[in-house]
Subunit: 653 residues, 2 copies
Amino acid sequence: MVNDDTSTGPSGYVQPRIDVPALTALLDGEYAEIRDLVRTNLAAHASVLDEADELGVDAFRERVREVVVEMAATGQTGMGFPPEYGGGGDVGASIAAFETLAFGDLSVLVKVGVQFGLFGGAILQLGTERHHDAYLPDLVTGKLMGCFAMTETGHGSNVQALGTVATYDPRSQEFVVTTHGEQARKDYIGNAARHGEVAVVFAQLEVGGRSEGVHALVVPVRVGGEPAPGVRIEDDGRKMGLNGVDNGRIHFDGVRVPREALLNRFADVTPEGVYASPIAHPNRRFFTMLGTLVQGRVSVGGAGVNAAKVALTIATRYADRRRQFEAASGAQEQLLLDYGLHQRRLLPLIARTYALHFAQDVVRGQLHEVFSGPGTDDQARRRLESRAAGTKALGTWHATRTIQECREACGGAGYLSVNRFAALKSDSDIFTTFEGDNHVLLQLVAKGLLTDYASDFEDLDQLGMVRHVAGLAVETVLEKTSAHKLLERVRDLLPGGDEWDQEAGLLDSDYQLAMVRHREEHMLAGAARRLKRGVDQKRDPGTVFSQVQDHVIAVARAHVERLVLEAFVEKVRGLPEGGEKVALGLLCDLFALSTIEADRAWFMEHGRLTVQRSKAISREVNDLCRKIRPLAVDLVDAWGVPPEMLRAPDLAG
Amino acid sequence: MVNDDTSTGPSGYVQPRIDVPALTALLDGEYAEIRDLVRTNLAAHASVLDEADELGVDAFRERVREVVVEMAATGQTGMGFPPEYGGGGDVGASIAAFETLAFGDLSVLVKVGVQFGLFGGAILQLGTERHHDAYLPDLVTGKLMGCFAMTETGHGSNVQALGTVATYDPRSQEFVVTTHGEQARKDYIGNAARHGEVAVVFAQLEVGGRSEGVHALVVPVRVGGEPAPGVRIEDDGRKMGLNGVDNGRIHFDGVRVPREALLNRFADVTPEGVYASPIAHPNRRFFTMLGTLVQGRVSVGGAGVNAAKVALTIATRYADRRRQFEAASGAQEQLLLDYGLHQRRLLPLIARTYALHFAQDVVRGQLHEVFSGPGTDDQARRRLESRAAGTKALGTWHATRTIQECREACGGAGYLSVNRFAALKSDSDIFTTFEGDNHVLLQLVAKGLLTDYASDFEDLDQLGMVRHVAGLAVETVLEKTSAHKLLERVRDLLPGGDEWDQEAGLLDSDYQLAMVRHREEHMLAGAARRLKRGVDQKRDPGTVFSQVQDHVIAVARAHVERLVLEAFVEKVRGLPEGGEKVALGLLCDLFALSTIEADRAWFMEHGRLTVQRSKAISREVNDLCRKIRPLAVDLVDAWGVPPEMLRAPDLAG
């Protein structure tokens, strides 16, 4: 697998050698063992890829359940649960396992996510010992399947406005759960249509006539395979993809559950009907509860990146085998990957995939730390939540874009179901929406930046102005905005002085970092000023926000891209000298420069890029593509997608 | 349906009223009647949309055949054939009918395309009376189903390198058709797996030991429902979408067909085995034959635009009904379409859809003229071929991008198969590849521009240098490149003098046109210079081309966008005063400015946009979005997508 084409070009450039197994070990990192277990399990159950096409919806759902339970028996899916309940007690490993599972059939992945991440995660994080004892042992083995019933037909992103109500009845010491109208039915709920026996239901808690906001309760939804009394279940039916997951709708008609059904880690109701919570403020309580579920976003982001790897592995191998036109009359046809355009289509995507891989390492590490430690560092939690939201958005958009590009790059063959693209594309499409719509998530990221910017998070929270992510607390967020402060920060970003960015080498990663840092700071200050101006002019906050919204989204994107580049640069800097370091350095440069190139209009508009330098960056991107081209197959092979998962013998060889 | 929100804003802007039926009539134009027939047929067969989900592959293929035959009986699908064979004798109407069919199930569309466009088109255009008499009557009714067997496993874009061989045997006066190796099997051929009885097979013609290049012959592939002797057929199996079309692979093992099977409009073989053609040069002959099939590209481009209309109709109506977050505490939640970001996501796509609609009118008109007249104007044919290639590429990419954006803009509901997105997305995905891979098509466009630029087409052709689209005839294409000529042309583009583009109003369509014309000219000259320099330096032509390839693609894209904008501007200018003209004017401005905005980096890099003006364009795009927002529902309703085709009651109301 070692590339033997080492050669010295006219410019003295020496093409690096990549030791593919060594690069795989570097990528797998501390979780190599669990990743290899998942690879083994995927290969053992490879037939599920065919069955996704061959079986009808009902049969495929049963098959996926079977595979999930079999995988659970190997310990693969329970890494995040405490050992005393049959888990592995290692949150980071549970995310790594989930990411790796994304190499395979994505219905299996999402069923695992629903069962162990969402349902299991809610029981673990929102419940207390009584819930853990009651549910975790059977949940971890997959014997007890459950639902995470948050989303409603009428409310996806705005969870605080859910319409399901759970009213406490002190006489019977029960909660009465009711769906108020069609818009309040639980919808798109995994495990609902077929396999779920209980559901964690998010509902407005009403105690003593007072609404205490959204809380979660465990509600049995099936008894002996039939809907429980008062529960009505509909099947969401066939979907674009993920048809091995049984999504459905749940209506509750005065369903009674005991007081103990309330997942009471953060709030409880006494038998007499007194509501109490250690967190005084309702919004803070709500966001604390939601915050414990952040692992879902970390998982999906990583899964998106790994789904992209499958597509890129196929398309890159294909491009290294497939010949198209003759370069000159009578000559042999050229390999696709020798065309400049084809390099431009695939290689920056490979670079971005590597970048997102290392960024995922960082967010997974933060998650592991927050959830393995004492867990009381609010700032670390907020940082994690913002970062998880951002990398989820970028990782899943990357998956959608990459899979599409790879399919097109494989022509008609890419359209046949026997290859992976059909399944990858339709199964992964919803990743940009579930676990938080990507645009809403970026607004969440931006909100954090704007409030940090105003250094005023606590005040805002007390004013109750940060409740609505989309509302962005326009009125008050920006009072402390200071143009002076901004300029100082920008200057700090340019280590070689104010003109340094016009002189530094394009391949100097300090330059690349300074560029993306500057972009973020400048965009943030601009969005803040625009919001403040609107408020100062006493305009309607909704209108002000609406007009600045694309700017706000751009801020968040710039922020996350900066984090991603920092993760990549830091990783490369820490490597020992050798072929892998050189190759990853090329990829890091390609990621950085193609990111700057994609937004070069902004950099020119804001005086940080001259026309000449902008053109030079495009030339450098092309040059990097040519240098990386001979390494391309090794670079995708190093991801270690099991060959059985490629399912594209005609394409990938 | 008339919008009653006429109001005068603070700036004196009066919001136009749109008369929706009048706008529909304007869009349908001269083909209103056939379009309405298709709409009626689509509504009558609306159940096929459900059946696509409910039936297995085999049953759905039969169902689609049935629908196609029933539609054929209404005259809808035969408009392009001569009346004496049961056709409508109106090429333009046949394209309009096909475009409208794209509102419905796309398997039906593609089966119609295979049968009447590709198979029927080849018989009509490449055959002579004997073939017309033998095949057209039953072909037009759909009684005789046939294949268009061009693509091979190993050769998609490079048709001249096909591996199937048809050798003339003068003793028996037959051609012997043989597949040489797995790479030469015909692949992805519609109607092959199940319904085709005959195939138009493209093969290397060998006569008297001499290869005469690729020609087409009619070969029976099934007799009594079984593969004909010597013919082996495989099923391509399940695909990402279009599973109502029976694509398959065909191998020929010494299959004998009579001499008369050769479609002999452009070349023939005498009984004795003498090859003769009125077109002396093999390349010219080959491209003349292929050129007659241009209607396929015109059809697919228009179909892509109409598929995008379906997605936009659903997403726009949804965004006008769905509420998300409260704008301020306690206020009602805002409609999605009132958010600036959501406007930015959907409205430029609506504008571009209108632009591509009017550009499609132009290319359809050119097609009609070329194929209805005496048809000997080579220049008109080449212009048509280039334009068809370009609008096909832009129209189908637009479909892929728009359908994806609309799905994401409808959240989880957009993922359910009961809505149209799942089918639209998977069925239309291959549009970017079939009837010519989009990137290859843009290279074809660029080749035409570069050769026109050198004013030297004939010479090149004689040198045999234009055979390979991808090769682009690097060595000789650019000898006449003249930088001086370029500058004069650029100056001509700026009617108000050299500085005029810095002063003209952004909403002046002459300014917008000058910008996109300048971009095209400048890019073209630049690509030409880079190619010439590489050749002058005696570098390997393949390498030279590879390095300039992305530039070449950019030239083609700029060219086609210029044509699209010209079509839109001209259309709007020709309209009578009124609400529709005002509304289309806003859309035309939005299309022009969002197109310039998307490439503003290029304009800044090339001195045609100052930083201030670039920012002003972005502000203007936002402003146009706000003006168009109240018109959005009327604008999508005017496309006249039959309500039965939306299949999204929960989304579109």
